[in-house]
């Protein structure tokens, strides 16, 4: 019995791609800690291995050997499921990112943008279920905040994307990048880009929008009860989420793999990497807003702005048909 070559190649592509993602996500924990250190005038973890890069391995081993504890009062099935959802959804979403026309798992998916939104919508479940099944009031509060935050910011994120979709006339990410051959969409869609990025931070619940975790008020929020590798999975999910939002911003607004001189995949890597660094800078610099301020900011400022953005984009496209 012989398996067709395409299937084998596809499987290999998926496995390699996911393995690469996991490794980069693990490395990101180290990058983040070092970079945060530099922002705060200290070196960060620099002891294990060259430049401390083996800190990643040390942390992984530590997490693996921690007791895998499920609290007796928790809802065990859901409790185990939640971190898996966190990881699976972001990794699935990552699959649609075209790093270059050739590199990427299903970069050519004709509903790419919608798939991304769907997956980040599903990602909410991980946080909500984690908060619910932990049976702990801090977790529940974190989960509730996460639900409200992610559901509402998903709205702006989706609407902010619409400008790009209108310009490119396609949901296909590869086509969207092709549309940016002459001009990055960040120029006509500057507002959309900012709002998408803000929404992305809220989706990955990273600082300064880490209200679901909110160490200073909720312990650790939705993952208060998690330990060992389940906790690690939340974190890997979070870091892949950062990469996902950075990569999406690159693809949608910053011209994907287009750039002079260097080969395409390097341009993609550089742009995504810089955005990831910007995520870390945000974490180092900004305080967390109060919960009601945060929601008000979303519904009262970002939503009208996004709608306005769509309106103006549409009007301009109708008014100046030559430009599209």
């Amino acid at each position: 019995m012989s398996v067709p070559h395409e299937i084998l190649a596809g499987l290999l592509n998926i496995v390699l791609g996911l393995a690469f993602l996991l490794v980069v996500a693990a490395l990101l924990t180290w990058v983040e800690r070092r970079l945060l250190g530099f922002f705060q005038d200290r070196p960060g973890p620099n002891r294990v291995g060259p430049f401390g890069i083996l800190q990643v391995a040390a942390d992984g081993i530590k997490l693996l050997f921690k007791q895998d504890w499920i609290p007796p009062f928790a809802d065990a099935g859901v409790f185990v499921l939640a971190p898996a959802i966190a990881m699976v959804t972001v990794m699935l979403a990552m699959a649609i990112i075209p790093a270059t026309p050739a590199i990427g798992i299903i970069g050519n998916l004709n509903i790419g943008v919608l798939f991304f939104l769907a997956m980040s919508g599903l990602g909410v479940y991980s946080v909500v279920l984690a908060g619910w099944s932990s049976n702990n009031k801090f977790s529940l509060l974190g989960g509730m905040r996460a639900a409200a935050q992610m559901v509402s910011y998903e709205v702006f994120m989706g609407l902010a994307l619409l400008g790009v979709v209108m310009l490119a006339g396609s949901f296909n990410l590869t086509d969207i990048v092709h549309g940016q051959r002459h001009m990055w969409y960040v120029v006509p869609q500057f507002l959309g880009c900012i709002i998408f990025f803000l929404g992305g931070i809220a989706e990955t619940h990273r600082l300064p929008f880490d209200l679901p975790e909110g160490e200073s008020e909720l312990g650790a929020g939705f993952h208060t009860e998690y330990s060992g590798m389940k906790f690690g999975m939340f974190f890997v999910g979070e870091y892949i989420g950062i990469m996902l939002v950075s990569a999406m911003t690159t693809v949608l607004f910053l011209g994907g793999w287009y750039g002079p001189i260097l080969p395409p995949f390097m341009w993609f890597g550089i742009k995504t990497g810089l955005l990831v660094c910007f995520f870390i800078l945000l974490r180092a610099a900004l305080p967390r807003p109060r919960y009601d301020q945060f929601m008000a900011f979303g519904w009262k400022l970002l939503l009208p702005l996004t709608l306005l953005n769509i309106l103006v984009t549409g009007a301009l496209m109708l008014g100046l048909p030559a430009s599209t």
């Binding site: 250190g37 530099f38 922002f39 705060q40 005038d41 200290r42 800078l281 610099a285 900004l286």
Partner: protein, 170 residues
């Protein structure tokens, strides 16, 4: 909103500033001479023990980690044993403040870790050093009015001879 952007920028600039961290085991930090670390018992310039077993340090110590016993030899007082339990000491320096003879002094050495807690109890042999520490010239028995062999009353530095209270002359 704008202030957030400014914060971002200032934080970004910190990327290019030197680290303030002193990477301790590789790079020793500078400790001031009056740093409060390991405690020593010093000697006076003649090489005699300064401690006179007055127990003031033991009284001053907020965690009661000093214990000592007085003994006497040729009119002088000495500690028979002098014990500091460094697993309780908080390095507050009160003992040094209390000591009337500058005997007990704190030094800028803090590397005292042990695997066995019992090893943190320092006896007099461990504490006593052969030098004078921070006060090279001070000698308690030379300035005090106490009579010891070789120095009678009124013979100490800056001391006038004792008044004969029975004499009528002014």
């Amino acid at each position: 909103m704008l202030s957030s952007v400014r914060t971002l920028w200032y934080t970004f600039l910190h990327l290019f500033q030197p680290n303030v961290t002193v990477q301790y085991p590789d790079e020793m930090p500078y400790l001031a001479p009056r740093y409060r670390g390991r405690i020593v018992l010093t000697r006076d310039p003649d090489g005699e023990e300064r401690c006179v077993s007055c127990n003031l340090c033991a009284v001053a110590c907020p965690v009661d980690c000093i214990s000592l016993q007085k003994t006497e030899h040729e009119g002088r007082w000495y500690p028979e044993f002098f014990r500091i339990n460094f697993s309780r000491c908080i390095f507050c320096g009160f003992c040094e403040e209390a000591c009337p003879t500058y005997a007990i002094q704190l030094t800028p050495d803090f590397e005292m870790s042990e695997y066995n807690r019992q090893n943190l109890v320092y006896e007099k042999e461990d504490l006593l050093i052969s030098g004078t520490g921070k006060y090279p010239d001070y000698n308690f028995y030379r300035v005090s009015g106490l009579a010891i062999p070789g120095k009678d009353k009124g013979e100490a530095e800056h001391e006038r001879p004792p008044i004969d209270v029975r004499a009528l002359l002014p």
